[in-house]
Symmetry: C2
């Protein structure tokens, strides 16, 4: 057994404390699997006085994480500070500049600056590992980049944000509205006090951008991801989804088309029998489709101190064993230059729910707009009658293009008898 791998831990929040706890509690198991002990020897955080419920005695303390990253006694830098810029980015850049391997759990950093960071790491010959950036304890980075290495992957899709999945699950189970369930989730600690990163889909989009880069072997392209969150999902639409045999999930979906790569995060209707439909609560799941492996699905806890620490340590064990993989699965010269496709080119089926005045001719007006846009209907549903009042009308279309649908929606929304902006949820094949 060689000398311990000396880890400098930048960030001592929930995840940092989890990494410390894991490396202590499972030191023997980790040493056996890594072929040498792995130990945190230095930590960096802002507030030295704060009680984190974990002993820090014997660890060298740095107020400045970038200084820790450059310290000669540190073999590997673990960055669990978070955030696309600021000290997290400076720390990772300092580590790469110092020629030190980096393990990070930072999806925002990778999604936004991953292309440059990967290029810098490659130039410096420094490994940059990030299993913990997507889907917590589920080894999905490893599965895509190594486990499916023999496959052309045509599609990767997943439930990538536990907060949204929890909220949508509770909305469905209890028939309640978004705002109410969000407030409760905040009280329970399942949602942040500023929830917008989660509920507006940004966190899921960060993760999807990373998965798409790995699946299709190209540099990460966060700006090309179409992002919608779950604020506009209503209890009414969840109930109609159930009636139609669907569940509403916030999915991240990336597909390889002949013309390029489509990547989008938005609420989807998925058949209630599909594997992703059954993943409820705070769980995450990722489905990948390979031309030889077929469809595989991985499911588990996508967040929290334990799962995230598990992923960080898996990366540390890989480093200790010398198991290296280029950041996006292949050296920069071998990456795909497939273009990103705009959302307007997306094709799929759509669920529309309109609030209309219940009077003769309204449905005819709406369906005329759809006909004029070349959109054909699969089904129409109007439950209940209350002449002269507002009633919901549900329409499900056959496959059509996003741009045609958006044009039709503008015209439908402008009809006199249509009382609210139409609710639109895309239907995703299982």
């Amino acid at each position: 057994m060689t000398r311990p791998l000396s880890v400098g831990l930048a960030g001592l929040g929930t995840v940092g404390a989890g990494v410390l706890a894991l490396l202590r509690q499972n030191a023997q198991v980790v040493a056996a699997r890594a072929g040498r002990p792995i130990a945190v020897t230095a930590v960096a955080a802002r507030d030295r006085a704060r009680d984190r419920g974990i002993a820090l005695a014997g660890l060298r303390w740095f107020d400045d994480a970038a200084a820790l990253a450059a310290d000669p006694a540190v073999d590997v830098v673990v960055e669990v500070i978070g955030g696309a810029d600021g000290i997290a980015r400076a720390t990772v850049e300092a580590a790469i500049a110092a020629g030190k391997p980096v393990v990070t759990a930072n999806k925002a950093l990778l999604a936004v600056h991953g292309a440059e960071l990967a290029a810098a790491a490659e130039r410096a010959g420094v490994p940059l590992a990030f299993e913990a950036a997507v889907a917590g304890g589920i080894p999905v980075i490893k599965a895509l980049r190594e486990g499916l290495a023999g496959n052309r992957i045509s599609r990767v899709a997943g439930i990538l944000n536990g907060t949204c999945n929890y909220i949508l699950t509770v909305m469905r189970e209890r028939g309640r509205e978004f705002a109410e369930v969000l407030a409760e989730a905040q009280k329970l600690g399942y949602a942040e006090s500023d929830p917008s990163f989660d509920v507006d889909g940004i966190d899921a989009a960060h993760k999807l951008a990373i998965l798409a880069a790995l699946a299709f072997g190209r540099p990460v392209a966060f700006a090309a991801v179409h992002v919608e969150g779950i604020r506009h999902v209503s209890a009414l639409d969840i109930a109609f989804a159930g009636e139609l045999g669907y569940r509403i999930k916030l999915l991240g979906i990336a597909r390889q088309h002949a013309a390029g790569i489509e990547a989008r995060v938005h609420p989807c209707m998925v058949a209630h029998t599909s594997p992703l439909a059954r993943v409820d609560g705070v769980f995450n799941a990722v489905v990948a489709e390979g031309d030889f492996a077929g469809r595989i699905m991985l499911e588990g806890r996508g967040a929290g101190a334990g799962p995230t620490a598990s992923a960080v340590v898996a990366d540390l064990v890989d480093l200790a064993r010398g198991r290296l993989t280029p950041v996006w699965g292949a050296q920069s010269g071998m990456l795909s230059d497939a273009p990103s496709l705009p959302m307007s080119a997306h094709a799929g089926c759509y669920y529309l729910r309109l609030m209309v005045v219940d009077r003769p001719g309204v449905i005819a007006d709406v369906t005329a707009v759809l006909r004029d846009a070349g959109i054909s209907l699969e089904s129409m549903l109007q439950r209940g009658r209350s002449p002269g009042e507002a009633v919901p009308v549900v329409l499900v279309t056959h496959e059509t293009r996003e741009d045609a649908m958006q044009a039709a929606l503008a015209r439908i929304g402008a009809l006199d008898a249509v009382l609210e902006p139409p609710a639109v949820i895309r239907i995703e094949p299982a």
Copy 2:
């Protein structure tokens, strides 16, 4: 880019042909991910004349796979012959002796001789990779051994045999008996003409032995796996399972207890809401529970040319990249020496179904036997009455030990009013 990795392919059945096809069809993707081209340059099979639907021109032909394994122009040997002994074993031993890395899809070989082969490979400093040996295209070896490397794994369980899962699924969906569905599966090519390896649980036990070794970091111990197949599962018990909220699945389950390791393959009742209950048809799934990652589940196609080739090539890419892992996850000196526990020490709940004469006092006799054995009942179910005739009675117990249950079953089976040997299916917590 360095020179191609030269693969010697021992075995040209379905899987061998799949590997050839993949390495040709996805040559570019594989080269990018491996950092160098990977190409089959030599093949070994018995019958040179047989049409395998794939071009063999340009490949060096060996009638003797062991000679191929020793050939100096071969960098890596892929063994896809199958079988625990004979030519498959000789080929792998020859490759290790010649200092060549081995990739094998052979679960029987690994389960039965894996401890010696791993020791030989370690002595020779030769990698021995076997992602394809368990669960086909699902990267479960990698997930357990690398992805969860930071965890103490307490339990690994899975649906490991697609043939059995297909048969049980069709029995449930159509209310049909085992023998009928087996015959049909044989016609459709989902079951072998000699189905015993599959339906008697041996194939699943081979795979479970491998998973248990990886999960708990110890040499493989196939002989210690308790094995029962699905021949005795009846349509009647499947129907009762449904009524009680369960599904019947053939599971392989390994658990780490304080006293040692329990490993068993047998039909189980699992709650219909549990993730494994929903994995139907030919699909495989593996659940692993880590102390930090929590429960993760991986699901996909567990057999067939494409998925198995995908796993073989993932191992080849790892070799090409120099990503190495000790066979059982740690060097031999670091492996656990936890003992295997006998099935008699298993503790769990049981489903019993008796065919009894419908007359007063029978249930009292049966429950008296259970009481005397210290077994308490959770529920009892007797549907229908036909005085003096045979009727089924279903009993579900609270947790008890296997040895107590077996002793009670012997006494129950000997009662006059009990007309057939009791049907027993263990209940597995979700």
